[in-house]
Amino acid sequence: MGVVKLELKGISKAFGTFYANQDIDLVVESGQIHCLLGENGAGKSTLMNVLYGLYEPTAGQILVNDQPVNFRGPGDAMAAGIGMVHQHFMLVPVFTVAENVALGAEPTSFGGVLSMDETRKKIREISDKYGFDVDPDALVEDLPVGVQQRVEIIKALVREAKVLILDEPTAVLTPQETDELLDIMRQLKAGGTSIVFISHKLREVKAVSDVITVIRRGKVVGDAPPTASATELASMMVGRPVSLSLNKAPAQPKETTFVVENLTVRAANGTNVVDGISFDIAQGEILAVAGVQGNGQTELTEAILGVQEHVTGSVTLDGKQLLGLPVKEVLRSGVGFVPEDRTVDGLVGPFSVAENLVLDLYDQAPFASGISMKPAKVAEHAKAKIEEFDIRTPSAGSAAGTLSGGNQQKVVMARELSRPLRLFIASQPTRGVDVGSIEFLHKRIVAERDVGTPVMIVSTELDEVIELADRIAVLYKGKLVGIVPAGTPRDTLGLMMAGVGPEGGSDD
């Protein structure tokens, strides 16, 4: 098939009246790593799904080697030499690696009987060529995400993809795995495969790209060379100047009031998802909990809040045991809690912004007396908070679910910060939030620290951890790998996130 040059001309994709992509032109030259940079919701994934035949474009044309093509499904795209690794892996968990790779293009003998040996051989060949170290007979659900991603790449390569689309491939990886992936991308490029790399992480984009195309609100803003500065790229993404560094004052830790000792959470299958964790946080200090997603962060924060079952150990705030108390009691003790998924746990989507702002206080003065609520007070409160937190909403009566991610998060944050707090916990405070709002939310978190509240941040984004933390705790498989001071090098943190202790020994 040789090399493939890919061209998108005037692609538009509308969902109803909303244009996810508008008049996009893009040329991917063969043998290049072409990055699509843009914020969450800018329309990068939609564009790639159009290119991969999953969506039909509303307008525009796709050209492969200067020939117009019409993809009716992913099968057509694959036949044209386009392969895609989706952000959420398209692997059947209960199948083996070989079965996943074979699926859709199965080598068979007479009568459609599978001959998996052929697939196994191909997997081993590719695995050896790129040093993937993938066992064709392993069950996919047993593999770490980094390896699953390689299976996805193998899937594309077995189909002789000449253009490989990687959709936010680093979102689920540790920093080390990310570096390995970037190496693999360079190898693939050297082998003649062109790559479309979708990301919103500036560091990675700058590290591997040959060309960067920035997309904002469904439109191409422009191209940039990889030598462009991070601030320049961020400003292109957001559409206004952004400051990327927080410039926070050094912490002034005072009395230690929040102590967690030997906290253990047992899951239904009998394993400890949080395993004997001990740490403390002083007033006026931010402890950031780092780690790859799914290493016990959710359970840790939920155990402190009191919504997890089978919890042992001790959690004390101002000398008072929180473990075993009902959630309401925990909140009344002065705990502010921003859950990791605002749409599931943080907000009631169909409720108005004003109502969401008093979800924790609706039954108390001044918002209620007896069994009746006082709508005037609720509205007054909403007006003040909308102004204070710069919540961009059509009105206080608009349903919270209709706001953008950043503004929804501001509603949650505003609610949790409007009580007098003795402890503030925020899980993934800026996930799926635009760069502009991130800046604002980070400043608020630091402000809370500066009034003397112990703050615990849980984030899977290492950049955010480094930005906010006064001390950094790293979780791996439910265990605390270590607590290190701010300023610890990225590489050390990355190793810790893979379970290697700060002193170098493996903690696994």
Partner: protein, 429 residues
């Protein structure tokens, strides 16, 4: 509330060390005690005769003679030993091995059988007849559960098995009578089952209607429709519309004379042989062929299948249709093998038992087959024990198949995992 005034609680809240569930050891223990007391100490004093070969068989095997009370005590002690082993394992923090509840169940059922037979007016039973009858009664269940396997493996919950069986039974009787050939009736039954299934497929796949609701509605619809046609068409004109005749029993020479196995495997109608073939073909197809790999992918992760160029909804549609055809053949067994005419609601809830067999068999064709055999056994036991005259009231005996179903599905299955996308419609994007 002021947070600082409360004194810290002492230490940590302790949880007991992790133990596997004590459900299995406990229930085995209770059942063993029941067996020892009721089957043994309070057991009947007649001797139960268990005939292994029938009079006409080429090889004669002497019958088992088991004295009621002594047998009950022996079985009770054996069961207690197994329960004790299970409890011992539990104290060691281990789960009971899988074979233990199965072996326990086999011994318990045998003890129950001895107890009932020894207490009957006529303390004699043919084991060969019992097993062969079980298979016969299991045939519609096997076809029904295979239909369920095909549908659920591809991601569509098929509650309409009952309707497919019933539709097949009615159509088989009608068409076989009108054409004079039960074989044409059998083919028509498959078509009827497929037609019922297509309705399920269109509504659940294209119009995204809740699959459970469509299934339930279909069952009611088919029951009403066949009941109406039976009343207006078949009852007044029995000769014309409801005398299908039976599918011939085609014994395979020599092989059919082997005791016990012979009549089960080699003395069947074409539907019986088709059942064995269908189980083998569906198993091989699902797990060894390209078709099966795609089917399972669609049922587990439809989006993944879609991104690889597999047409999810077409795959679902044709699988559900095929499942319906298979269930239709199962329905024909009622009117072309078991009895030679249709009566209202002849399937009598067997479609739901087939659904249970599918779950008990863990969405595997062979598992579903074995589970169906177990339920067939329960049905047959109920009717045979009625004939020999047991002291157990017949209403209780009639509950047997359903009790077995509940215990099998709730108790012994544990946590089995259905196909991940089962019951969830697929919408692109």
């Amino acid at each position: 509330m002021s947070a600082t005034t409360t004194a810290p609680k002492s230490g940590s809240t302790a949880l007991p060390a992790f133990r596997p569930s004590m459900k299995v050891p406990l229930s085995l223990g209770i059942l063993a005690l029941i067996a020892l007391v009721f089957f043994g100490f309070l057991g009947p004093d007649q001797t139960a005769e268990m005939k292994i070969s029938d009079a006409g068989d080429a090889v004669a095997v002497p019958a088992l003679m088991i004295p009621g009370q002594v047998g009950g005590v022996v079985f009770g002690i054996l069961l207690l030993a197994m329960a004790a082993y299970s409890i011992y394992l539990w104290t060691q923090g281990e789960r009971s091995p899988k074979w233990l509840p199965i072996a326990f169940a086999v011994v318990f059922v045998f003890a129950l059988l001895v107890w009932i037979v020894a207490g009957a007016r006529q303390p004699s039973i043919s084991l060969a007849g019992l097993v062969a009858g079980s298979v016969t009664l299991a045939v519609p269940l096997v076809f029904g559960s295979l239909s369920g396997v095909l549908c659920e493996r591809v991601g569509v919950v098929n509650i309409a098995i009952e309707g497919q069986l019933l539709g097949g039974a009615f159509t088989a009787a009608l068409v076989a009578t009108m054409t004079g050939s039960p074989y044409i009736g059998l083919i028509a039954a498959a078509a009827a089952g497929a037609a019922v299934s297509m309705v399920l497929a269109v509504f659940s796949i294209k119009y995204l209607v809740n699959q459970i609701i469509v299934g339930v509605v279909l069952n009611v619809l088919v029951s009403g429709l066949t009941g109406f046609l039976y009343g207006t068409l078949m009852v007044p004109n029995k000769e014309q519309f409801n005398t299908p005749g039976r599918l011939d029993i085609l014994p395979i020479p020599l092989l059919s004379d082997i005791p016990i196995i012979g009549p089960i495997l080699f003395e069947q109608s074409i539907a019986g042989y088709l059942m064995y073939i269908a189980v083998a073909v569906v198993w091989f197809g699902l797990f060894k062929t390209r078709w099966g790999l795609r089917v399972r992918a669609v049922g587990e992760h439809p989006q993944a299948a879609d991104t690889l160029g597999i047409n999810v909804n077409a795959t679902r549609f044709w699988n559900v249709t095929l499942g319906g055809a298979i269930a239709g053949i199962g329905g024909a067994v009622f009117t072309l093998v078991t009895i030679d005419s249709f009566t209202k609601d002849i399937s009598g809830g067997r479609g739901f038992i087939a659904l249970a067999a599918l779950i008990f068999g863990r969405w595997n064709p062979i598992g579903a087959f074995l589970a169906s055999l177990l339920f067939g056994f329960a049905y047959n036991l109920q009717s045979i024990l009625g004939i020999i005259g047991t002291p157990v009231p017949s209403q209780f005996m009639a509950m047997l198949p359903y009790l077995v179903t509940i215990f099998a599905v709730a108790g012994l299955v544990g946590k089995s995992r259905p196909p991940a996308a089962s019951g969830i419609p697929y919408v692109k994007g």
